[in-house]
Amino acid sequence: MIRAFGYNEFLFLLSAVQWTLLLSVIAFIGGGIVGLFVALARTSDVKPLRLLATGYIQVFQGTPLLMQLFLVFFGATVLGIDMSPWVAAAVGLTLNTSAFLGEIWRGCIQSVPRGQWEAASSLGLRYPGLMRYVILPQAVKVAVPPTVGYLVQVIKGTSLAAIIGFVELTRAGQIVNNATFQPFLVFGIVAAIYFALCWPLSLLSQRLEARYAAPSR
């Protein structure tokens, strides 16, 4: 039965936005926490840790996100774990985000001049205090613009969760389209919603970058 695209269909799409946002937030927070450890490992003095983090980053950056979602989703089934598309998408996106944020933050940590590490260690600060009070506060300033910018990638990345059956914005679009057969209209609206979510973040990222690039204080 074919329906026309109407107000109800539009509301259905809008309500799916919450799942896109929730998935993005989870991937971002989870990816941020894991990514911090990835970045710390990547800049560590301990070689095995560094190699491990490098490998982790390369695997996730070198394979398509969709394959990563497939592997988590179907891998769980192989291992006999009953994983819902929702959990699989959250786990997959978290891991993927952690690799990318880890690599972005590695650069930010390394952008803090060597002299800062030396001054802090010569004052007797050990690694945890040195990181927490001296290096990370300075790295965060550099990290904010690219991190906000990367949030855009995370939001767009959640659309792939549609393929493993999680009903977020893109999947909702497919469902509406199956009922209305107005793909251009439906996916046009879906794309416009994504744009409305992402564009402000892109702008914010550019603003922040311009502000931090300006001579400080």
């Binding site: 002299g115 001054a119 260690s121 050990r126 400080s216």
Partner: protein, 262 residues
């Protein structure tokens, strides 16, 4: 042998081990296949003030950075305040607490105010209370004559002021020894004096100091001993009088000829 509480300026300090703050024995260091330090032997006594000079690349920075292990040596022994530096963190922590370091490029923490720069290590390393750390910081900022800058950020200060803050920041840890690596080399000429005056003040208070510098006036008026390094070796060491008027080695003479010509 009489034990002088402070080494006399016209003689090398008495070799009482209790008075030795830093002892380096046969210290060697390589960067890959390039040997930066060749068999360094050095004793620094309590209250002694040593100036290290030598051509660029001779290993001066590397030598003092080995003392607080910003660089690791590969051979030989380094003992600081009775603690031998080894592979363990415990010794390293003990040594770094007692050894202050001042860098050519100041290396103040730009995200912290001057006061916070001075309070961080005492609070986080020594576990001092905030109030106590603040009192100490203010005392040392007064001593380097910039208490009025306490709430500014390093970026708002001149180079000379920043370097004086860096000295105060080190002093707040109450170190037994202060290491200086060309503390005035990055400064505009008009600011060199204020930093040197601060260092002279420290010297007058009896601080043990190891100072890499080419400020020969400072060496003459403050140092008990001048060490000349070249190609990773200590070529010559003597009292400033002897060192400047009667250098023994040809390398020292040509080096002095070069820097005094400027």
């Amino acid at each position: 042998m009489a034990v002088a509480s402070e080494p006399t300026r016209d003689g090398i300090a008495p070799a009482m081990s209790a008075d030795v703050v830093i002892r380096m024995e046969g210290v060697q260091k390589w960067y890959d296949h390039f040997q930066v330090l060749k068999d360094i032997d050095l004793e620094v006594h309590r209250g002694e003030r040593i100036v290290i000079c030598g051509p660029s690349g001779s290993g001066k920075s590397t030598l003092i950075r080995c003392i607080n292990q910003l660089e690791r040596h590969q051979k030989g022994r380094i003992t600081v305040n009775g603690v031998e530096l080894g592979p363990h963190h415990r010794q390293l922590d003990m040594v770094r607490r007692e050894v202050g370091m001042v860098f050519q490029s100041f290396n103040l923490f730009p995200h912290l105010t001057v006061l916070e720069n001075c309070m961080l290590a005492p609070m986080k390393v020594r576990g001092t209370t905030r109030a106590e750390a603040k009192a100490t910081a203010i005392r040392y900022l007064e001593r380097v004559r910039i208490p009025e800058q306490a709430d500014k950020y390093p970026g708002q200060l001149s180079g000379g002021q920043q370097q004086r803050v860096a000295i105060a920041r080190s002093l707040c840890m109450n170190p037994k020894v202060m290491l200086f690596d060309e503390p005035t080399s990055a400064l505009d000429p008009e600011m060199v004096k204020e930093v040197l005056d601060t260092m002279i003040g420290l010297a007058e208070d009896g601080m043990t100091m190891l100072c890499v510098t080419h400020e020969m006036g400072f060496a003459k008026s403050v140092a008990h001993r001048v060490i000349f390094m070249d190609r990773g070796e200590i070529v010559e060491q003597n009292t400033p009088e002897e060192f400047f008027t009667a250098p023994k080695s040809e390398r020292t003479r040509s080096f002095l000829g070069q820097i005094l010509a400027h």
